[in-house]
């Protein structure tokens, strides 16, 4: 279980903290969507989990602080990309194999074949979509129990993303947990089983898709409701700008 207790993060020189007393528990085997507007704190939260940023509070993995001893239980796919641009896919496989003892060669080969990615080409020569795919492939093959993805599909076309969701559902083991941050709420609603909403550094919503189903609410409506989304704000703004009544 990945547990965040009262996690607060304040960047130097900023007035408001980026994360405020965040409490979150991720049991094994869940696919959790993390949603929030730009700057809500999604990426900061993920970086705190890995210890890339200093924070107040406590983050534990299966009851223990995250250190070098257990960090390989976590993998990370980020839209900023964490691969080596000059290294080939095969080079990455070798690097991962030598550093992560649970690296799954079979899964790696299978996903590389499925997405038809070149094995002996440097990553810098991949298209952005391919780079995203490769980033996610690495995170899925590392052999981690908790796979953290930060907007992994930014730049991929809809068919590509669709394929990925299906592949994800097909290959994930019962103990593998995914925390995925994305703006593509409607797209992922079918494949996540829990949604966590973050707003201005605070967790403002946490609901399972079963609960949503019971309530007869769609994920996007739940998000809009939790965010107090004003449907008429666009027309109001346009009225103010143009001076004309917008429909």
């Amino acid at each position: 279980m990945l547990e965040l207790n009262n996690v607060t993060k304040k960047y130097p020189g900023t007035k408001a903290p980026s994360l405020i007393n965040v409490n979150l528990t991720l049991p094994r085997g869940e696919i959790v969507g993390l949603f929030g507007e730009n700057g809500a704190g999604k990426t900061t939260l993920m970086k705190c989990i890995f210890g890339f940023l200093q924070y107040e509070g406590k983050i534990t993995l299966d009851g223990e602080r995250i250190t070098r001893k257990n960090i390989e239980k976590l993998s990370f796919a980020t839209c900023e990309h964490s691969f080596f641009p000059n290294l080939t896919a095969a080079g990455h496989r070798d690097f991962y194999k030598s550093n992560f003892k649970n690296f799954s060669d079979k899964r790696f080969q299978g996903l590389m074949d499925f997405f038809d990615l070149p094995m002996h080409k440097a990553l810098r020569h991949f298209s952005t979509g391919q780079q995203n795919q490769f980033e996610v492939i690495l995170s899925l093959c590392q052999g981690a129990d908790y796979i953290i993805m930060d907007e992994p599909f930014a730049g991929n076309d809809v068919f590509n993303r669709e394929d990925f969701y299906k592949v994800l559902l097909g290959i994930l083991g019962p103990n593998e947990t995914v925390l995925i941050s994305t703006h593509l709420i409607e797209e992922v609603s079918a494949f996540i089983n829990r949604a966590v909403l973050i707003k201005k550094g605070r967790i403002v919503g946490d609901i399972t898709t079963d609960e949503l189903e019971e309530n007869g609410t769609s994920l996007i409506d739940y998000v809009k409701e939790t965010y107090h989304y004003q449907a008429d704000r666009v027309s109001k703004a346009l009225n103010a700008i143009t001076g004309e009544e917008q429909i």
Binding site: E72, F76, E80, F84, P85, L87, F100
Partner: protein, 166 residues
């Protein structure tokens, strides 16, 4: 050669292009040593000529070693500076075009990042230091053995001064 390339890859940021940088910096070590020796021997020869031209003057002795050696180590200074800059470049490599630093920082082996940034520069720094010491000693050896004994400066200065102040 293949083994050297493999060794270079093991101790460098993954995917770093070529090994020209290491070769150039390694070549800098003998260059710095030659510069050091030449710079010293030019000054020494000039001083020895002056000494021979003024043999009859009273208290005519060779200038202290440290005076003749002054500036001779600047080649090593530049080389060390370049190696330090090179360490920075190797670190920045993990931020270029992607954030591979995230991967390096979540590896089970903490040493992997430092190993890939520091080992080769540290070896070069070590070799530079050893070469610099050998060069100083060589210059010192020539200074003592080529200068007529009665024209060497005071004994204490001769033994310690040069090395401490060089």
């Amino acid at each position: 050669m293949n083994r050297l390339v493999q060794l270079y890859r093991r101790f460098s940021p993954p995917g770093i292009a070529g090994s020209t940088d290491v070769v150039l910096l390694a070549a800098g070590i003998p260059v710095a040593a030659i510069f050091c020796y030449c710079s010293f021997s030019v000054k020494y020869d000039r001083a020895l000529t002056d000494l021979n031209d003024n043999l009859l003057l009273k208290n005519n002795v060779m200038p202290p070693f440290r005076e003749l050696f002054k500036g001779s180590m600047s080649g090593f200074g530049v080389l060390i500076l370049l190696i330090l800059v090179w360490i920075m470049i190797r670190y920045v490599f993990f931020y270029r075009e992607s954030k591979s630093i995230y991967l390096m920082r979540r590896l089970p082996k903490r040493s992997e990042l430092y190993k890939r940034i520091l080992v080769i520069p540290a070896v070069l720094l070590g070799l530079s230091a050893i070469t610099a010491i050998i060069t100083v000693l060589l210059c010192r050896y020539y200074y003592i053995h080529l200068t007529p004994a009665n024209q060497l400066p005071a004994h204490i200065e001769m033994i310690y001064g040069g090395i401490i102040h060089a």
